[in-house]
């Protein structure tokens, strides 16, 4: 049974929402602190850390607010395909970053 088919208790949802919002505030603060910190040279490490925190944030929203932690198999199948294509898209992007065609001019 998915979350949306279970009986709902409004009070338990209030508690869940309070926890989620608190964690969102903490993760957002952590991202800002990381951005203004002096970790590593340049932006590579900072970007990696900030995106890692953003993924935690996204997991909370998708997992608890969208009930993705207790969905039906077909939804997971649809999302599995999406993840595969998304990874392919990002893989091609990373691959392309080192391969600008000869004669490319940066203005």
């Amino acid at each position: 049974m998915s979350e949306s088919e279970k009986p709902v208790c409004l009070k338990s949802y209030f508690r869940l929402c309070a926890v989620v919002f608190l964690v969102v505030v903490c993760t957002t603060s952590a991202m800002i602190a990381t951005s203004f910190s002096h970790i590593g040279e340049g932006w590579t490490l900072k970007v990696a850390l900030i995106l890692a925190i953003a993924v935690v944030n996204a997991f909370l929203v998708a997992g608890y607010l969208m009930h993705l932690l207790s969905e039906k198999k077909l939804v997971y199948t649809v999302l599995a395909f999406t993840v595969v294509f998304f990874i392919g898209l990002m893989g091609l992007t990373v691959w392309a970053t080192n391969g600008f065609p000869p004669g490319t001019v940066n203005h």
Partner: protein
């Protein structure tokens, strides 16, 4: 004619039709925004060293918008939960909050856009750059005829690279003042609109598309909020499913912002 599987679970999918539909739609949305994030990565790594902007966007306003969207995602979930326990009054209250939060988000975004559109970079004939927010243009100001003056609240720098990293110690310590420039001294003048550089182009594209999603979602949520009473009386289960589907879309819009905020404002 009755539309099948608006309430009942379809045996072969385990879902009602609208829920499967919204998940398929969201999957396509992931690829749409994924393509734009891909463009962002290519533009960023393809920029010349020192020419990718940092600190151009207002982190405080971005943070406020992040929290507003997170709150609106929560009120959306609570609105759905209120429908599940058959409390229409609470549903109305929670979704009214969602609509207000969404409109506030759009208001802040509009303010940020306006701030960029009145921010000018002026290339001077002596090779220097003036940069700042427009205070006024003289009534006879005409760049083509080289007549009149323009006044900015900003500064003049020797190199355009000095304008790229606004978080650098030099930029942080720079004193902003009123700068008046005669049209005859201007080689090129443009605001920080989408055509200014690749950063502003991808910034306006990504946030503009996201704002359109917010606007679309708000219209749907408003419709359900304002005109949903009739369906609630005759078919509350179906109405609750509609709230769930619109909520899933709204959570997705929040998810996109969770990545847009750090990518554009913090890195």
């Amino acid at each position: 004619m009755e539309i099948p599987y608006t309430i009942q679970i379809r045996p072969d999918t385990g879902l009602y039709n609208a829920k499967l539909g919204i998940w398929l739609f969201l999957a396509s949305e992931v690829m749409l925004f994924g393509g734009l994030f891909s463009a962002y990565i290519l533009l960023r790594v393809g920029a010349e060293p020192g020419m990718w902007p940092h600190g151009w966007l207002n982190v405080t306003l971005g943070t406020v918008n992040t929290l507003l969207l997170a709150l609106s995602a929560i009120t959306t979930l609570l609105a759905w939960a209120a429908c599940k326990v058959r409390d229409f009054r609470k549903f109305k209250i929670f979704h009214a909050c969602t609509i207000l939060l969404a409109l506030t988000f759009l208001g802040i975004k509009s303010f940020e856009y306006h701030d960029k559109l009145i921010h000018y970079e002026v290339q001077l004939t002596n090779g220097k750059f003036a940069d700042g927010h427009l205070i006024e243009k003289s009534t006879d100001f005409d760049l083509a005829k080289k007549s009149g003056t323009v006044t900015l609240h900003g500064r003049i720098v020797d190199d355009e690279r000095d304008l790229m990293d606004l978080r650098s110690p030099a930029a942080q310590s720079a004193k902003l003042d009123e700068v008046t420039i005669t049209a005859a001294d201007i080689k090129k003048m443009e605001n920080y609109g989408p055509k200014h550089n690749t950063f502003t182009a991808i910034y306006f594209t990504l946030t503009g598309l996201h704002a359109l999603h917010i606007l679309g979602g708000t219209i749907v949520i408003f419709y359900l909020w304002a005109f949903g009473g009739a369906m609630w009386k005759t078919d509350p289960e179906r109405f609750t499913n509609r709230i769930e589907v619109s909520g899933l879309f709204w959570h997705f819009v929040d998810l996109v912002w969770i990545f847009l905020f750090p990518v554009l404002y913090l890195t």
